[in-house]
């Protein structure tokens, strides 16, 4: 639930400050070195306090990542090469990156638009407070309800024998699957993803919607603006960085999703995480360095998305003071 996180600025200027000891003074008259305890005190042992954390992160987070990144630029003998990165342009891999990106784009777009409309209705639409509260609580749950159980729920709902599919056919004579819908398809997956994307969007866009001051609207109304003009010239421009930021977060959220796809489609739907999963498990196709390149491709996409998100968020926060 990245929603509840507030991201700090990334600028980590001067980590080394604390270790930057003000060197023990050695005056000309006194050439003897200061006693050991004084030197220790001047150096300061405070930084030792986070050594356990840094070690842990280095071993189990940064180390593995670096290993994969370095491995992506090595061949089987360990010498430097760009071959693995170039091999990413192979037809299969390009196809799965393209599939992943298209699916993530579609589901992020659906989530953003639906979340915006819903947020506008629930937060600003003049509905009673309990409606807002109910939607927010539910969203907190639903945005975490991903993975295998979500897939099960949708199979029971919109699968070939799902309740909604059956009801539509028996009550209204409408055959969903004959009409071109298929849960086990690109569009079907996007509909499933919406179940956690829409709540996530609602959660993260709410602060921005709350930040639209009623004075702005009143001022616009006094100046004779219509609703449409208010949204076009005040509301949306203020919200734009937030909306774009949320879109990116939703994109990343969809891009990293594996369990839902896997439980729904098995191994037949080659989004990037599934391809990597298959490679690791099956040891098939085995050039591990190509696997590294796949992993690095994923990290790169996630990193770019998140950094852009942070930048946009900085910009959006200007209005929320």
């Amino acid at each position: 639930m990245p929603a509840s996180l507030s991201f700090p600025g990334l600028a980590s200027k001067g980590h080394n400050m604390t270790m930057n000891l003000s060197a023990p003074r050695t005056d000309a008259q006194d050439t003897s070195p200061p006693p050991l305890s004084a030197r220790i005190a001047a150096f300061g042992w405070d930084w030792l306090g986070i050594v356990p954390f840094l070690t842990f992160a280095l071993l189990f987070l940064i180390g593995p990542m670096l290993y994969l990144i370095l491995g992506a630029f090595q061949n089987a003998d360990g010498s430097f090469t760009f071959d693995n990165i170039l091999a990413l342009s192979g037809a299969n891999i390009v196809a799965s990156f393209s599939l992943s990106i298209r699916l993530s784009l579609l589901s992020a777009l659906m989530g953003t638009l639906a979340g915006l409309v819903l947020g506008q209705a629930v937060i600003l639409g003049g509905l009673p407070q309990w409606v807002r509260h109910a939607f927010m609580t539910f969203s907190g749950v639903a945005s975490n309800f991903a993975g295998v159980p979500l897939a099960f729920a949708f199979i029971a709902t919109l699968g070939r024998l799902g309740l909604v599919t059956v009801l539509l056919r028996e009550l209204f004579g409408f055959n969903l699957y004959a009409a071109g819908f298929n849960l086990f398809s690109f569009v079907g997956l996007a509909v499933v993803y919406l179940y956690f994307q829409l709540p996530l969007m609602l959660l993260i866009i709410t602060p921005a919607l709350d930040g639209l001051k009623s004075e702005w609207r009143e001022a616009a109304e006094i100046l004779g603006a219509t609703r449409r003009q208010y949204w076009r010239m005040v509301g949306l421009p203020v919200l734009t960085p937030s909306i774009l930021g949320c879109f990116l977060l939703l994109f990343a959220n969809a891009f990293g999703t594996l369990a839902t796809v896997y439980a729904l489609m098995g191994s037949g739907f080659d989004v990037v995480p599934v391809v990597l999963f298959q490679q690791i498990r099956g040891n098939v196709l085995y050039n591990p360095n190509l696997g590294y390149a796949l992993a690095v491709g994923m990290i790169a996409i996630m990193a770019v998305t998140n950094i852009l998100y942070l930048l946009l968020r900085k910009r959006a926060e200007r209005w929320q003071k």
């Binding site: 159980p149 309740l163 994923m298």
Partner: protein
Amino acid sequence: MKKPFPIVPTIIALIAASYFIIPLIATFYFSLKMTRGTLSFAAYASVFQSEEFLKTLGYSTLASLAAIVMGAVIIVPTAYWVRLKLPRLRPLVEFISLLPLIVPGVVLVFGYIRLFGSNSWLPMTNSDQGTNLLLVIGYVIMSMPYMFRAVDNGMAAIDIATLTEAAESLGASRLRTISLVIFPNVRAAIIAGSFLTFSISLGEFVLPSLLNRPAFGPYLVQLGQDRAYEPAALAIMSFAFTWGCMVLMQAFATKKPGQRWLPRLSRKI
């Protein structure tokens, strides 16, 4: 201007509510249809009678609890120390704690298998114990952004500098200060983070599947391929479980330090 009844917002809210609720109703109804012709809880009974279910659920519960404990032990002292003594290192620590958000689980475990695999410098995957440990560590890493955030917010709510000085002037050692003064004061925040960790790791699929551990996530996927009605029952239970975790997390996250626990909530799930 008179406010008319918000027709359009009402319609939008109703549509969204049905999109959210219909799958739950459908799944619940579906889960009751196991015995032909009648509605019954047979699917639920079948789930609970399965030995595999209890075994994998037990395993995942243990792994998640271990991850919570390990996460708290690593993150609480760090967050405390950074706030108290090393505010300049704060951006670095915060950055590291957010890093897992850009590393998908499948990539993380790939790194583990390569770095700690059987032919590596630290072959953790050679023994069951080592692999279990690696799984727990993976969960600690995956939940680190949320745990750190929760604990750090908890620390912000109390005056740790004054508390530390008070404890020290009464002669408490560093360890005693952390374990008897700071820890109890951020307990609610830790528990809030714990529920999130729990809901992330209990049904997680990728890590145990690639580490070959008998966990709940892989069991769920297998069940989805073999059965029709039990998965629906499990989906309903899992939704209820997520709901419980989130409600408890909210309750603990908004609890003020020192506030009475009215009906003293026990910490177990």
